[in-house]
């Protein structure tokens, strides 16, 4: 019964090995590595550019987010704790109301450009993390 090696042997060319085969393989490998490096560099450059655009869109609106934040002073916390001690149900109801109001204010401040910029920043940062960590991991595997 012929095994896999026999099958491979049968499909191999009968011609003798070309003299420049090794050189051609090495040249091909070098070209492929050069191309993948170049693609990676272009991708890095694009993501850096896109991140800058994302930051440029986000930064002028940071103030909007900060003003949307609820007043978290110690006085407010103390007041809420007093209310909790007096009437727990009412205090929790008020807290949930404050949270929902804050979230809806924040959501209304999220314009299309900001949503787009946040998406871009997330994608760029995630790509950055994967690149940082995958490179280290693949090098570690290669060394093993």
């Amino acid at each position: 019964m012929p095994d896999r090696l026999d099958e491979l042997l049968a499909v191999m060319p009968a011609d003798p090995c070309p003299e420049d085969l090794t050189v051609r393989i090495q040249a091909r490998l070098t070209y492929m590595r050069w191309r993948s490096r170049r693609i990676r560099r272009v991708l890095h450059f694009m993501l850096v550019g896109v991140s800058v655009v994302g930051m440029w869109l986000i930064l002028p609106r940071v103030e909007t987010f900060l003003t949307a934040l609820p007043d978290l002073s110690l006085a407010a916390v103390e007041e809420w704790l007093n209310a909790l001690a007096r009437s727990p149900g009412e205090a929790l109801l008020n807290l949930s109301g404050v949270i929902i109001t804050w979230i809806s204010e924040l959501a209304s401040a999220l314009e299309i450009e900001i949503v787009l910029a946040l998406g871009i920043l997330t994608a760029s940062a995630l790509y950055g993390i994967i690149t940082l960590l995958s490179n280290g991991a693949s090098r570690k595997e290669a060394m093993a």
């Binding site: 997330t122 940082l132 995958s134 693949s138 570690k140």
Partner: protein, 227 residues
């Protein structure tokens, strides 16, 4: 005496002296102040020279400092006992040089950007609304677990250089926690250092997948596809 032993002893003394100076001159127990005085800057403790232990502010500062240090150390002990293998994996990764530590810091910064953006975007849909709070919890756990590994590795490396390797892992944790804690309590600069340490801790946890020791790739899923 080994040169590193002198360095370790000097660092411990410096850490303690730095913490005492912070206690005497700065307001650590801010939570004891009346709500009315929160807006105004508080004068440092002027009476410490004459009546160090009578000054209520100084005593409150000492109590705050010791309680914070002990809490941080006990949290570290809990993590060491709960997941010793994972702490070892994180510590081993941290021991591979400053370049690796800087990489973990970068990962921490990027992770905060991702979690912040995802947290903001998640409020747009009702079913993802609790996500910001969950992400905040994950980031908190990741940061503190990483900081425990960082403190342990710092202490271990210093003790190993000094030739004190046969000690309990808890001694490494004590030394590392003491040094990091003293640095984070340096007035003004301490807050910046604290943020940097927390980001490095978060990066360490994320990069090592909470100390699982497995590389950051999708090979297990790809094996399933190839099978």
């Amino acid at each position: 005496m080994n040169r590193w032993r002198i360095v370790v002893v000097t660092l411990v003394v410096l850490a303690i002296v730095s913490m005492i100076i912070s206690v005497l001159f700065f307001d650590l127990a801010w939570w004891r102040r009346s709500l009315a005085s929160l807006g105004s800057a508080r004068a440092p403790h002027r009476a410490w020279r004459t009546a160090l232990f009578q000054d209520e502010g100084v005593r409150a500062n000492f109590a705050t400092l010791i309680a914070s240090l002990v809490t941080q150390f006990l949290f570290g002990v809990l993590i060491l006992y709960l997941v010793p293998d994972r702490v070892r994996n994180m510590a081993q990764d941290l021991s591979k040089g400053w370049q690796r530590v800087l990489k973990f810091f970068a990962v921490g910064v990027l992770m905060v950007v991702i979690l912040g953006a995802v947290g903001l975007l998640s409020i747009l849909a009702v079913h993802t609304m609790p996500l910001p709070f969950i992400l905040l919890g994950i980031l908190f756990l990741a940061s503190f677990s990483g900081v425990v590994a960082l403190a342990y590795q710092l202490g271990f490396a210093m003790l190993a250089r000094a030739g004190w390797t046969s000690r309990s892992p808890l001694v490494s944790l004590v030394l590392g926690t003491l040094i990091l804690f003293a640095l984070t309590n340096v007035p003004y600069l301490g807050s910046i250092f604290l943020i940097m340490v927390l980001l490095t801790g978060a990066g360490t946890s994320i990069a090592t997948r909470f100390g699982s020791g497995k590389p950051w790739n999708l090979l297990p899923l790809m094996e399933d596809v190839q099978a």
